[in-house]
Symmetry: C2
Subunit: 226 residues, 2 copies
């Protein structure tokens, strides 16, 4: 084990290595406390502390009475960029969007080049689900985040999907429903993005995403005025 760290942290690192080494996936069960203690040659209370650390890092989750399981969050922390420590919510929303302008059009282009038929099918379904809520004036944040995360996965880049969840999960302070005009534009540009990806037209996908983000910016401006 690596030295210079607290024993609990070192044991947590060993458990992570074990998860990776045994190729355990989200939902797979870990050995119990007793087995882990004997495997790693430490006491059960140390194992318990290490598991708590891994729960807070969202690597594992405890299901009461059932055991400890690999978390579906794959170790992506709840607020990986520490955004809750930034002060002005409108500023955070604006700057997140500035970053999305940098990243997402290129991701749409990559998705047009690399997305699989299954990923395209998923994108179309998410686009439908999102559009339905957008046009009905319902909350669409969940479907919207899922749609943008699916484009990030379709980019084929293994790092980006974990990042996209952060970028596109709309900050919780901006939850007002946008005006009908903006909702219609958001739905239309979503559709254009999917059409361009389906046509394998990287440049059209880039442009449609740019247009979509410009609509998002208008939506934030609308809410900042309220």
């Amino acid at each position: 084990m690596e030295t210079g760290k607290l024993l609990t942290d070192r044991v947590a690192d060993e458990i992570v290595k074990n998860i990776i080494g045994k190729d355990l996936k989200a939902g797979d069960k870990l050995p119990n406390e007793f087995e882990l203690a004997s495997m790693l040659g430490v006491g059960r209370s140390t194992v318990r502390e290490a598991i708590k650390t891994l729960v807070s890092r969202r690597v594992v989750e405890i299901r009461r009475g059932a055991g400890t399981f690999v978390s579906a969050c794959s170790g992506v922390s709840e607020d990986p960029l520490g955004l809750q420590f930034l002060e002005d919510p409108i500023r955070v929303a604006t700057d997140l969007l500035e970053l999305r302008f940098v990243v997402e059009p290129r991701l749409a282009t990559l998705a047009a080049a690399r997305c699989t038929p299954e990923q395209l099918e998923e994108l179309m379904q998410l686009c439908d689900a999102c559009e339905k809520n957008m046009l009905a004036g319902n909350d669409f944040s969940q479907e919207n985040t899922a749609f943008h995360a699916a484009i990030a996965r379709a980019s084929g880049n293994v790092v980006v999907p974990n990042l996209a969840v952060i970028l596109c999960g709309s900050p919780s302070m901006l939850t007002a429903t946008p005006s009908k005009q903006i909702r219609e534009e958001l739905a239309r540009t979503h559709r254009e993005i999917v059409t361009a990806i389906a046509a394998r037209d990287g440049m059209a996908a880039y442009d449609a995403m740019l247009l979509h983000l410009a609509q998002c910016r208008r939506s934030i401006a609308e809410q900042a005025l309220q």
Copy 2:
């Protein structure tokens, strides 16, 4: 307090709110265990557990004998994107770089428009320190990460700096020293980036960063062949 979470997590959230509410900065001291327990109306053992959670989320750090302090990591965990759960280290390095190609040239352009005189001074010093190690064939990873993080801060975007630390911290598996030719090119393109930012020339900063990243890609290719 929010319900549906474990008491420890709720107390941890309250401590975070307290840090934000009192505008405590990195290095500032938190109230002691006893004071926190009485402030939050919970037992000291719960406070102790909550503090442990916040240590593992890198929100606070404990200095033995001195107390608990706000961490300089501002809640950015060690591996916030869960990259250690991705399997192929060369693939992770390649895809991180693909993302840097998307993000960093634009950050350099923003830095040219927005950086303050103090930030420029810092950039020049980091460029010097990094160049010295690059040309001497020493490890330059720390100065290099600091240089790229300083450009991200100079972009004026509040979200980006925490992201840059993830993007530019070279994955630990790629630690071999690049060849002399590549090290010289990396140093030269670093210098060109700073010169362009100093001249407030956003397009030249964009191009210099692109060239620099192309050199980084050659450096990774070199190591992948070894």
